[in-house]
Amino acid sequence: MHEKEKDLISAFLRGEVDRRGMLKGLGAMGITAGSAGTLLNMMSTRALAADFDWKKHSGKSLKLLLNKHPYADAMIANLQNFKDLTGIEVTYDVFPEDVYFDKVTAALSSGSTEYDAFMTGAYMTWTYGPAGWITDLKEWINDPEKTNPNYAWDDFLPGVKNSCAWNGQPGGALGSDDAKQWCIPWGFEQNNITYNKAMFDKAGVAVPKNIDEMITAAAKLQKDVGGIYGIGVRGSRSWATIHPGFLSAYSNFNEKDLNLTDGKLSAAMGTAGSKAFHAKWVQMIQESGPKDWSTYTWYQVGTDLGAGASAMIFDADILGYFMNGGDNKMAGQLSYAAFTANPDATASTPNIWIWSLAMSNFSKDKDATWYFMQWASGPEHAIFGATKMDFVDPVRQSVWKDEAFRTKLDKYPGYVDMFDASAAGASIKFTPQPLFFDVTTEWAATLQKMVAKEVPVDEGLDQLVESIDRQLKEAGLG
């Protein structure tokens, strides 16, 4: 490598040149953005090495449990850098998403020492944490001996970071002072609108601004475009139906899943506001949702949008992101918008899904594991993933400020604006408690009954409240 190039990169790393300037400079030297990224990483590695003993655990080996996901792919693509940096050998098991969490539960519940760290969602830590399977990471984050000075814990989006911290008390506020950091956020998903611009234009429909507009827009799209349905949302009998668009909109109306009074939890879906919202949601699906909505998961919602079978989705922004590429028929034709369901609300408050990294309590070498975790969630890898791979949505504010990343998102019209509009309000809206999956599964089943007109909305919610209160009591929480 030429000295000039090295100098430029070093200047960037010292903060003297901004990223764009550096890339421009490198480009002028005849180096493409792709190889610039690699160069940058190599240089970063050196820069990192300068002020922290990365080699402390050299010669050790770690094993990861990963979900087949673009985040994991990005990490694997960059993994050699970590090995070079630390001398730690890393192996990994990747399992299909369909069975991933079954594998995690099986491995952890049996106390397997095989895996040191693994990918998880924040919701899952509400089980794993109290079960004693994962480690509170605060101890490491706050220890300058163990965490490199460039890690910048403050750089993480606060809503996201806090959503991964819980004090273990049923109903305890996420991110409270006594909260334990069960996992480190890696990448996350905000639930907003992804829409098919051409269809919107054809039907002459504007991007909906609230739930009522969404209902009418979806109906009009379905009617005017023809051969498609208006809006894609998930509907399977699973927690996954509740957490994306549905809960995002629900909480925008300041409705809650559970109430906490005097340390006791009780179902909160029985309010008038909740019933009104449920009625609208159900109506929207009945009128303009997918015909076989009750079998819809992430995959079907995305596939339909990508194949041009639906006009919009109210789901994870990164699902819309994926559908805008690859061999999807609608690749390059999708746009994004933040969504504020409540006409009275000032901003979007999406519920979020956070792919995170957690440390197994059964890990044989937690310090070495933390080395991997801080690298994998560190700023350098975040930039690499976001710019070179599909590591959206990144959880570090610095990445969102990164010019190269923002430029990359130009191909996704409205994505950056969508993010900026809703990031502040983005957090987990669920009440953290160990019966999370019981509550959400039953909630989804109730929605299915309502959509199938097996039960009226009011009555269905009353039954749901009754049943959940009973289960909470049975578990000693209510």
């Binding site: 087949k68 996901h69 673009p70 792919d73 694997i76 990994y92 098991d93 990747v94 399992f95 299909p96 998403e97 369909d98 069975v99 079954d102 594998k103 099986a106 491995a107 519940s109 049996s110 106390g111 397997s112 095989e114 051969g227 992430w298 995959y299 995305g302 596939t303 990508g306 194949a307 041009g308 079978a309 699902l319 994926f322 559908m323 590429g325 690859g326 061999d327 999807n328 028929k329 690749a331 791979m389 599909d390």
Partner: protein, 285 residues
């Protein structure tokens, strides 16, 4: 029975055609899908007109899969090898263990034989989910977790009862006198078992083995829970095409085609045994 009228022949033909259409159409459709990309698979309305591509098979065999989110490494061929290894070994061991036991139950009405036979069968109806958690824990302690040995042991739960109960029927249908004759002629029980009982029950053993093979092949919960990624069978491997950036239907279809091929080859090879062989009395009373 052979006095079939023309009308009846036609009716039979129609019925058979309907049966073949019902059972074969989805297979045919999967086969077609395996030569398509998602773009044509997800056409509205569905269509049979497409330019066939071998890209799915190429992706599976080379282990490189291009998706909306970049190129992924997949271990499908390794999964396929695992499936073959696990199923073949499990069935082989189940045969080695199960056939002599079946012989014992068929030939020797010994004290408690029905109870033991029933106990062995009862393992088949213990829901796998029930034993899964304790099993993973015990395997952890015994160091059997993440070993082929452990997996093959657990697979016996699937294979052994099936083989035992089907082969038992075959042995019972062999005339005892034939075996006595060989014994009396001066041969040990083992020689008799090997030279008389085994060859005569051979078709039944082949048929039971094939059915056990199919059930072992289709299982995945045990491997998923008990082993790491490098030991997963094709049933888990094929789920890798359900990615967060979309379901790769073309690859799943070709994965199904590839994964069915060894079993189908085995079935066609053992055709004689399967259809004729069972007729020696598999389940006969």
């Amino acid at each position: 029975m052979e006095t079939t009228s023309t009308l009846e022949k036609i009716l039979r033909l129609i019925a058979l055609t309907l049966v073949v259409i019902f059972f074969m159409f989805p297979i045919f459709w999967i086969f077609l899908m395996s030569f398509q990309t998602n773009e044509t698979i997800l056409a509205i309305p569905p269509s049979v007109i497409f330019t066939p591509t071998l890209s799915n098979y190429a992706a599976l065999i080379t282990g490189k899969l291009t998706t909306a989110a970049g190129t992924l490494d997949i271990a499908f061929m390794r999964n396929l090898m695992n499936s073959i290894f696990l199923s073949v070994t499990s069935v082989a061991i189940a045969l080695v263990l199960g056939v002599p036991a079946a012989y014992a139950f068929a030939r020797h009405k010994f004290k408690g034989s029905e109870d033991i036979a029933f106990t062995l069968l009862s393992f088949r109806f213990a829901p796998p989910l029930l034993v899964l958690l304790p099993l993973t824990q015990y395997f952890q302690w015994l160091g059997l977790a993440d070993t082929y040995f452990g997996l093959i042991w657990v697979y016996q739960l699937i294979c052994l009862p099936l083989i035992l109960w089907i082969v038992r029927g075959y042995f019972e249908d062999i005339s005892a006198d034939v075996e006595y004759a060989y014994r009396i002629a001066g041969h040990s029980w083992f020689a008799t078992f090997r030279k008389i009982a085994l060859p005569l029950a051979g078709p039944g053993i082949a048929a039971a083995g094939l059915l056990a093979f199919i059930f072992a092949w289709n299982n995945f919960v045990f491997a998923l829970v008990l082993a790491s990624a490098d030991k997963q069978p094709v049933t888990v491997g094929a789920l890798a095409f359900v990615t967060s950036s979309g379901i790769q239907y073309g690859q799943i279809a070709s994965a199904i085609v590839l994964s069915v091929t060894p079993t189908l080859a085995l079935a066609l090879y053992a055709q004689r045994y399967l259809v004729e062989g069972l007729s020696l009395g598999a389940v006969k009373g």
